[in-house]
Amino acid sequence: MPAAVKRILPQLITLLGVMVLVSLVFPDFLSIDYSDGRLVGPVIDVLKRGAPVALLAVGMTLVVATGGIDLSVGTLMAITGAVAAAAIVAGHGLVLAIVLALAAGLCAGGFSGFLVAVVGIQPIVATLILMISGRGIAQLITEGRILTFNMPGFAFLGSGTLLGVPVPVWIWLAVTALAIVIVRRTALGLLIESVGINRRASALAGVNARVILIAVYMASGLCAALAGIITTADIRGADANNAGLWLELDAILATVLGGNSLRGGRFSISAAVIGALIIQTINTGILLAGFPSEYNLVIKAVLVILILVVQSPSLAGDLKRLGSQLSRRAPRRSAKAAPQRSDR
C-alpha cells in the first residue's frame, strides 16, 4: 500500500463508518438523483455544504503544521464576503470583486503572520486579535446591514452547477489538489514541517523560518477568502454577524480529525479535508435523522470524541500491545520456565 494512502486510511474508514451510521437512521442517505442537469441527493449536499470548512481546513493544516493555529478564519470569511459584496454593490465587476476579496484575505493573513513570526506573539493570541476585532471591521464595511446584491455571475460561485456538480465542490477539490501539488512537488512541505518541529534548528540550517511562517498564515487567509466568497455567493448577501461564525473551530477539528498534531510537524492536507467531510456528514446526518435540534450539538460532540479516541495513536498502541501479549503470554511462559529453573 502506498504511504499516501496508508496515511489517510483511518480518515477514510471513519468517513465510511459515519456514512454507514447515517444510512442506518436515514436509509435514503446514499441515494443520488439526476435531474435538470444536476446531481441531487444528501451526499452531494454534504460535499457542497462541506466546502467552507474543507477550504478552511486546507489553510489550517499548513498553519497547524508550523505549530500554530489560526482562530481568525471564521471572521475572515465575514470580512472577505463583505468586501466582495461591497465591491459588487459599488458597481465593480465580477473579477475585481473576487480579486479584492482574495487580497483582503491575504493581507489579513499576512498581518497575523507578521505578529507571529516577527513580533513573536503566540499564534493563538495573535489570531484572536483578528477573530474578535474582525467582525467589527466587517460590520463597518457592510455598514451594519446585510449587504445583498444581484449578480448571477458571482452567485454562480456559490449555487451554480458545473457538469452536474455544484461549483463549491469543484472549488474545494481544485484548491485541495493545488495545495497538495504545491506543497509536495516543491520543497515547501519539508520546510514547513521542519520549522514546525524545530524552528531554531531549522533556522540554523538556513531555513527562512519567518518567511515560511508568514506564508502559511497568508495561505490560510486566502483559503478563508475563498470560503467567504462561496458563502456570500450562495446566499447572495454578506452577513457580517453570522458568516463563518464558529467555523474556525470546525476547521481546527477537521485538521485534528485528519490526524494532524497541534504541536506541529508532519501534516496531511487530504486527511484534513476528509476530516471536514466527516464533520459535514455528521451535521447533515443529524438534520436528516430528524432529531430535535437541542440534541444536535450533544450528538456531534459524542461522535467526535468517539472518533478521536479510536484514532488516538496511544490507544492503538495499547490495543496492539494487549493483543500481542494475550496471544503470546501463555505459550511463552511454559516454554521458558523449565530451562530457567534447571539453570539455578
Binding site: 520543497a187 521542519s194 518541529i197 524545530n198 533556522a203
Partner: protein, 505 residues
C-alpha cells in the same frame, strides 16, 4: 545482587534493540555499560527506568521482581537516572529544576526560600557557581548536565544511572563528578556508567559490560580486561588498521598566501571580546577553553546567529555580510552545533530529510532537490559516516545519540562548505566512529576546506589541529601552532591564572 536484568528483550519496528540481555549490578560497584553507537545502551537504561516497555525478560531489585512503568515509579524505587539528552525544563529556574516534584513545602505551599536552600545543598561539591534563580535554559549544556546529575544523585537511594554524563564536561568537572560518584559507591549504591571515554571508564569503573547490536558480548572486571580487547569486543573486529590512521599528519608550517577568510575586530558587547583571526585554506583551527570561556559564543558570532557589534569579515572578494545563518551559509560557511537536540536535528523528519535540509533551504523552496539525488545523498552519508539505521526513512529522533550527531554532520558535509565550524563534533560518538570522523576532517581539509573545531577533549583537539586558539573569559588568550601544540602548553594557557594574562596574551 542489588539489581539483575534477565534476558531483557526490546524490539522496535523492524529491529531488535536488545536481545535477551543479562546484566547484574552489585551494591557498592560502578559498572560500565559500553558499546558502539546504536548498540542498545540507552535502550537498556530506558527499559530499566520505565521509559520503554520491555517485550520480555525480568528486572529484579534486591531479588524482587519490579516493573517500573514510568520514570517516577523508578525514582520511587530508588533508581535515579541522568539520560543522554538533558531532559529538564529550560524555562524553570535552576532551583525549581533541582527540587521539581519534591519541593519543600510549608503549610502545603512551596517555600521559595527553602527551595533555594535545598538546591544549594544539592549542588554542593560540584564547584558550580551559578544563580539559582535564573532560568536553567540560559546556562550552557554542561551546566544543565551537572544540574541533571545533581538532581538524579539526590533521587537515587539504591541505583544511579549515568548515560554519557561527561560528554559535555571539562576535566575539572569530570573530576568533581567522579568524586561524587565514588562517595555514593562507598555508601553502597550501585552505579551504571555509560561513556565513550575509555580513560574515564578505567579510572572509575569496577566492572565492564559490552553490548554489540543489542546482545551482551562480555562482562568482566575492568582490571582484567585490557583496552585493545575491550575495543575489539565493542567493534567486533580486529583493531590494527584503526591505529594506523590515528597517526598525525600535521603540516610543519602553515600554508602561505592569501587567507581564505579574515575576521578583524569581530566582537559583541558582553558576549565575545573583539578578536582577529585569519583562516587559511585547508587548515584545521582548534578552539579550546573552559566552559563559559566563549567558545560556542565565538562560533555563534561567526555564523551570524548573533549579530556582531564590531568588526568585519572578508574574503578575497571583499567584505562579507553575516547578519544571520542564511548569510553565513551563502558565504560558504557551515556550523554543526553543540546541542544537537535543540539546535541540530529535526527529530520527526527522516534521516534523508535531515541531511538535505540545509541544501534545500539554500536552493529555495521552488527548486526541490530531486528525489533521486536525495536518496543518493542519504545512502552515501549513511555509508560514509556509518550511521546505524534500518534505512534512510527512519526518523532521526529514533536514532541513538551518536548516530544523530552523525546526521547533523552529514547535513553540512553535503553542502561542501569552504569554512566549517564543528562545535564538539565527536560528542557521544563511539571509538570506531571517532577516529573516522577525525579522519574525515583531515580529508576535507586536504581538499581545501578550512575547519574550526571546538572541543573539550584536548587529545582530540591536539591531534587534529594545525593551530590552537585558547579562550578565557570570552577573549583569546593564546595561539599555538606547529610544534608548540602540546597538551602541556594548551592546559597551561587554559588554566593560567589572572596575573599571567598579560604575559600569555
Amino acid at each position: 545482587m542489588l539489581l539483575a536484568l534477565q534476558s531483557l528483550t526490546k524490539t522496535f519496528v523492524g529491529m531488535k534493540a536488545l536481545d535477551e540481555v543479562d546484566f547484574e549490578l552489585a551494591s557498592g560497584e560502578v559498572h560500565a555499560l559500553l558499546g558502539e553507537n546504536g548498540a542498545g545502551k540507552s535502550t537498556l537504561i530506558k527499559c530499566l527506568t520505565g521509559v520503554y516497555r520491555r517485550d520480555a525478560g525480568s528486572i529484579l531489585l534486591d531479588g524482587r521482581d519490579i516493573s517500573p512503568d514510568s520514570t517516577s515509579r523508578a525514582q520511587a524505587l530508588g533508581i535515579g537516572t541522568v539520560y543522554q539528552e538533558v531532559n529538564l525544563l529550560p524555562n524553570l529556574t535552576v532551583a525549581q529544576n533541582l527540587t521539581f516534584g519534591h519541593e519543600p513545602r510549608r503549610f502545603g505551599i512551596i517555600s521559595p526560600r527553602a527551595q533555594r536552600r535545598r538546591a544549594a545543598q544539592m549542588l554542593e561539591g560540584y564547584g558550580l557557581d551559578i544563580d539559582l534563580d535564573r532560568d536553567l535554559g540560559s546556562y550552557s549544556v554542561a551546566v544543565q548536565q551537572l544540574v541533571a546529575i545533581a538532581r538524579a544523585v539526590e533521587l537515587s537511594g539504591r541505583v544511579l544511572i549515568l548515560d554519557e554524563p561527561t560528554a559535555s564536561l571539562d576535566d575539572r568537572e569530570v573530576q568533581m563528578l567522579f568524586a561524587v560518584v565514588r562517595r555514593l559507591r562507598d555508601r553502597g549504591l550501585g552505579i551504571i556508567f555509560v561513556s565513550h571515554f575509555l580513560d574515564q571508564v578505567y579510572a572509575l569503573c569496577d566492572r565492564i559490560t559490552v553490548l554489540r547490536n543489542g546482545c551482551r558480548i562480555v562482562t568482566e572486571r575492568s582490571d582484567s580486561l585490557d583496552r585493545v580487547r575491550l575495543i575489539e569486543h565493542m567493534l567486533g573486529r580486529e583493531l590494527a588498521a584503526q591505529e594506523e590512521s590515528e597517526k598525525r599528519h600535521r603540516r610543519s608550517a602553515p600554508l602561505a598566501g592569501e587567507p581564505l577568510l579574515s575576521f578583524a575586530g569581530v566582537g559583541r558587547r558582553g558576549f565575545v571580546e573583539p578578536f582577529d583571526l585569519e583562516v587559511q585554506r585547508g587548515e584545521v583551527i582548534g578552539m579550546s577553553g573552559l566552559l563559559g570561556s566563549g567558545r560556542t559564543e565565538t562560533a555563534e558570532l561567526m555564523f551570524g546567529i548573533r549579530r556582531m557589534h564590531s568588526g568585519t569579515v572578508s574574503d578575497a572578494e571583499g567584505d562579507l555580510r553575516l547578519n544571520n545563518p542564511r548569510d553565513a551559509i551563502a558565504a560558504g560557511f557551515g556550523f554543526a552545533p553543540e546541542d544537537r537536540k535543540t539546535d541540530g536535528i529535526i527529530a520527526d523528519l527522516s534521516i534523508r530529510d535531515n541531511i538535505v535540509l540545509a541544501m534545500q533551504a539554500r536552493r529555495g523552496w521552488l527548486r526541490r532537490v530531486p528525489r533521486a539525488e536525495q536518496k543518493r545523498l542519504a545512502a552515501d552519508y549513511i555509508e560514509r559516516l556509518d550511521i546505524r539505521t534500518s534505512g534512510p526513512e527512519k526518523a532521526v529522533g529514533e536514532l541513538s545519540g551518536g548516530n544523530q550527531q552523525k546526521v547533523v554532520l552529514a547535513r553540512w558535509l553535503a553542502m561542501n562548505p569552504r569554512f566549517l565550524v564543528l562545535d564538539e563534533p565527536t560528542r557521544g560518538i563511539d571509538v570506531g566512529a571517532h577516529a573516522e570522523i577525525l579522519q574525515l576532517v583531515r580529508e576535507l581539509t586536504a581538499r581545501g576546506m578550512a575547519v574550526l573545531v571546538i572541543s573539550s577533549e584536548l587529545d582530540e583537539l591536539i591531534a587534529v589541529s594545525d593551530r590552537v586558539i585558547v579562550l578565557r573569559d570570552r577573549r583569546q588568550v593564546a595561539r599555538l601552532s606547529g610544534s608548540d601544540i602540546t597538551l602541556e602548553n594548551v592546559v597551561h594557557a587554559i588554566a593560567a591564572s589572572d596575573e599571567h594574562r598579560e604575559v600569555s596574551a
